[in-house]
């Protein structure tokens, strides 16, 4: 305990602070060139993109995860047989360059790309595809969740078998026709993995991912960052343009934007709509809109009074001022919802105009329904989701809208896990929730969210209508596109009249990037392919 020790400690601390502060005058880039400039004197400095996002991935094996933050990374490591369009969910060639469907819709033949290699050097061919499908088929429902929900029906495999006709031709034989079969195959969970790697790593495959994608896996610091780098032998000439991508976890939206402004990251997901204006005003930044493929809604539990009465549900539909909500909390960056799915989805019924904002009409309907003025519980979402950036605040506005028509509402909220469970049990009167589409098919909205089969899973409103059920089930195996569209349109008309929800908004999720980032196209599914992105 001599004085020397203490004064030394003091000196050290002040020295550190001084150094730290004075160091700050220099730009971030100068430290970059200091450290990396030596190795790459001749070529331009390596192209690194830092992608800031709200949460970490849970697994880098796309087949076993269900979570968007995981697909964001696996999309760039793995490729699927078919691809979605750059900014939509139309079907394009992927690892399969062409395909044919039999008349009865039971046989799909895929011609595979040749000369494709996995990151570990394994050849991509028919054998690899079959091994992947076998792996998924052998897995249990809780392990390979998406495979089971997309390609199994009542416990029966829709993909009966897969046969290799030659090294680069595979035939899928189905047990029954499935209208969205190709769309399903293009989903991120069905990225083709290297059979050598998943056989070798077993349970550890999820942290040692090997695919054919433009980037290969480098490292994963849990809850902090995932780094992937350019795959030199990628089969598409000239791609990817970036040398390295770092997915950085920054949980808070505001902090993430601050990091972007300070240049610590280059691209930020999950931007608060309220920050739209300040980003647009900043020349160093660019605002990026993710095409909308979601629905945010107010569910009215159809089995609980007063919402067991169709007139009351219609009244609430007239009572809520969607446009005001969108103006305030989505900063205009959303479309008022009419149907349970966005208009970009094939089969959308645009003849339905929806319920206009009309409190007087709402009061009349309530009177007609004989509503007694009992207080309802209004459940406010405790977390921000792309379809509902600020649930708590929207709930406050809805509360006021309902009060205006004489329906007192008490706002309640639970932690997210509890919220979902209780809502699933039908314990809410009115609740806020939403959905982001998986594959851009109408089935993935209407059947998933409103069929009587899905009560207890995603039909939180407990809406049950046999007529709708028949239409939706028929549409699932209908291969004639026009007939199928017609079935969905009919279903939407009935749903509109029954009014199980108040569809609120189809939001446009926002991202922001440094102005130097070029070629980034946000995908409506939320997983973005980065092979065309470059830094200026």
């Amino acid at each position: 305990m001599s004085k020397k020790l203490w004064s030394l400690g003091l000196l050290l601390l002040f020295a550190l602070i001084l150094v730290a502060c004075s160091e700050d005058g220099t730009d971030e880039t100068s430290t970059d060139t200091e450290t990396e400039g030596e190795t790459t004197e001749t070529s331009a400095s390596p192209q690194v993109l830092v992608f800031g996002r709200g949460g970490d991935s849970t697994s880098l094996d796309p087949a076993i995860t269900t979570e968007g933050e995981s697909f964001k990374v696996t999309k760039n490591i793995y490729e699927t047989l078919l691809n979605f369009g750059e900014q939509d969910t139309t079907i394009h060639p992927g690892l399969a360059e062409e395909w044919e469907v039999s008349e009865d819709g039971l046989e799909y033949t895929f011609k595979l790309q040749q000369g494709v290699k996995f990151h570990d050097g394994t050849d991509f061919n028919a054998d690899a595809v079959i091994k992947n499908i076998d792996r998924w088929k052998a897995g249990t429902a809780e392990k390979f969740y998406y495979f089971n929900s997309m390609f199994k029906s009542e416990g029966e495999d829709i993909i009966k078998e897969v046969i290799a006709e030659d090294d680069y031709t595979v035939v899928f034989k189905l047990s029954r026709p499935q209208a969205p079969f190709l769309k399903n195959l293009a989903m991120s969970p069905f990225g083709i993995a290297s059979p050598t790697a998943f056989e070798k790593h077993g349970n550890q495959f999820e942290s040692n991912p090997v695919g054919t994608g433009p980037f290969k896996f480098v490292s994963w610091e849990r809850n902090t960052s995932i780094t992937i780098e350019k795959f030199e032998d990628y089969w598409q000439e000239g791609l990817p343009k970036l040398d390295r991508v770092i997915f950085q976890v920054i949980p808070d939206n505001t902090t993430r934007l601050q990091n972007l402004i300070k240049g610590e990251i280059d691209l930020a997901d999950g931007i608060n709509p309220s920050d739209r204006a300040s980003i647009e005003a900043d020349a160093a930044l660019q605002l990026i809109e993710r095409p909308s493929m979601n629905i945010g809604y107010l569910g009215l539990t159809n089995t609980r009074p007063p919402f067991d009465n169709q007139l009351v549900r219609q009244a609430v539909n007239h009572a809520i001022d969607k446009q005001a909500i969108i103006d305030a909390f989505f900063d205009g960056g959303a479309e008022a919802a009419v149907n349970p799915m966005p208009s970009s989805i094939t089969g959308y019924n645009d003849e339905i105009t929806g319920y206009d904002y009309n409190p007087e009409k709402a009061k009349e309907l309530l009177a007609e329904a004989g509503y007694d003025g009992a207080e309802i519980e209004l459940w406010a979402m405790p977390v921000a989701r792309p379809y509902m950036p600020d649930g708590a605040k929207v709930a406050e506005v809805i509360q006021k809208n309902l009060a205006d028509i004489g329906m007192p509402a008490k706002i309640v909220s639970f932690e997210w896990a509890t919220y979902l469970e209780k809502a699933k049990n039908g314990e809410a009167d009115a609740f806020m929730l939403g959905w982001t589409g998986d594959n851009g098919d109408a089935d993935n909205f209407l059947y998933t969210l409103l069929d009587k089969d899905t009560i207890g899973s995603n039909n939180y409103a407990y809406y049950s209508n046999d007529e709708v059920h028949e239409l939706l089930v028929a549409a699932q195996s209908e291969t004639n596109e026009d007939v199928r569209i017609d079935l969905y349109k009919q279903a939407q008309q009935i749903i509109f009249e029954d009014a199980p929800w108040v569809p609120l908004a189809h939001s446009t999720p926002l991202l922001a990037a440094n102005a130097k980032v070029k070629g980034f196209l946000a995908h409506p599914t939320g997983s973005d392919l980065l092979s065309n992105v470059s830094m200026e």
Binding site: G9, L10, T66, E142, N148, T255, A417
Partner: protein, 334 residues
């Protein structure tokens, strides 16, 4: 002394045992199904039921408890439900991150707090004393999550002196060896990175240090006042020794004991209390890890994580008590 340590360690066993029961029961009492959370909003009811089965969540609670206890005793902390990785492997980086932040904060608190307390005591009732004690009062009354936000606003957004969040420069990440980045960068001779890491530590470190600094300053001042008034010091002072020597050589030794207690107690509190600071500064520490685990209903992580923190907490207190006896042999234990 050894006897005392042994007795304290024995005393720990029922406490830790009791903690396993309480943690286990609390967690099971929280509504919400981990299977649902793991599979997400898109999951079907059958998938959830199957997952519950394979996670052993359908067993009676006492079987679950004994499984858990058996594993703990054999040193197996279990696997995270969410990432299905062993917790023992997963938890260290988070712990290290929190340790580094907490120790850094404690370093600030001790250096600033003790010196402020000493100077205040020496110049009792001077303007320095008044200001220091007012600042200390504000310090103990500070909602530190608010302080953290204000720091970000002033020093990061407006003045642009220091980074907003995180532990390191994302573009030039530290190669982790011990996961104490200050040490890792020094081992690798990366002084540039060392500076960057220090810069990231300053804002959260200061926020976290605020309360202990204030408490230590007050304690030091109070105990120094008593010491300074003693004949011993008066003599030394009268003999014309230089103030610095008098204080640091003689007085501090005596003032150290109560201050040590505060340091120990506060270090323990920092470990768990860092949740808010970690949340605001996106610090990948143990507090945030556990907070998120509660959100995900990741039972094993919550159980083992809280147990680890509590264990460290009691160990730190034990060490402080032992030091206490070592420094002041007048204090006797039976």
């Amino acid at each position: 002394m050894l006897h005392y340590i042994g007795k304290r360690l024995l005393h720990l066993i029922p406490v830790l045992f009791g903690m396993t029961i309480i943690v286990f029961l609390i967690i099971r009492a929280i509504p919400g199904d981990p299977a649902q959370v793991i599979l997400g909003q898109q999951a079907t009811a059958e998938a959830i039921a199957a997952l519950r089965d394979s996670l052993g969540l359908n067993n009676p609670w006492y079987i679950q408890y004994f499984d858990y206890l058996k594993n703990i005793v054999t040193g197996d902390l279990g696997e995270s439900l969410r990432t299905s990785r062993p917790i023992a492997a997963e938890v260290w980086p988070y712990l290290a991150a929190t340790f580094e932040l907490a120790l850094f904060a404690m370093l600030i608190a001790v250096i600033v707090g003790m010196n402020a307390g000493i100077i205040s005591a020496w110049f009792q009732n001077s303007w320095f004393d008044y200001i220091a004690m007012i600042v200390a009062l504000i310090g103990v009354s500070m909602p530190i999550f608010w302080l953290g936000l204000m720091e970000q606003w002033i020093f990061s957004i407006n003045l642009e002196w220091l980074p907003t969040s995180g532990r390191q420069d994302v573009r030039d990440p530290v190669t982790a060896i011990t996961h104490f980045y200050l040490i890792d960068t020094l081992i690798q001779g990366r002084f540039d990175q060392f500076i960057v890491v220090v810069k990231h530590l300053i804002l959260p470190g200061v926020a976290l240090a605020t309360i202990p600094t204030a408490i230590i300053a007050r304690m030091t001042r109070a105990s120094m006042l008593e010491v300074i008034r003693s004949d011993y010091i008066r003599t030394a002072r009268a003999k014309g020794q230089r103030m610095f020597v008098v204080i640091y050589k003689h007085a501090l030794k005596n003032a150290l004991i109560p201050v040590l207690t505060v340091i120990g107690l506060q270090t323990g509190l920092l470990l768990g209390g860092a949740i808010l600071t970690e949340t605001i500064f996106s610090w990948p520490g143990i507090g945030r890890y556990l907070y998120e685990a509660i959100g995900y209903r990741d039972y094993p992580v919550i159980q083992s994580g809280i147990l680890i923190i509590a264990f460290l907490f009691v160990m730190i207190n034990l060490i402080v008590d032992v030091l206490y006896t070592a420094i002041d042999s007048r204090i006797k234990y039976n």
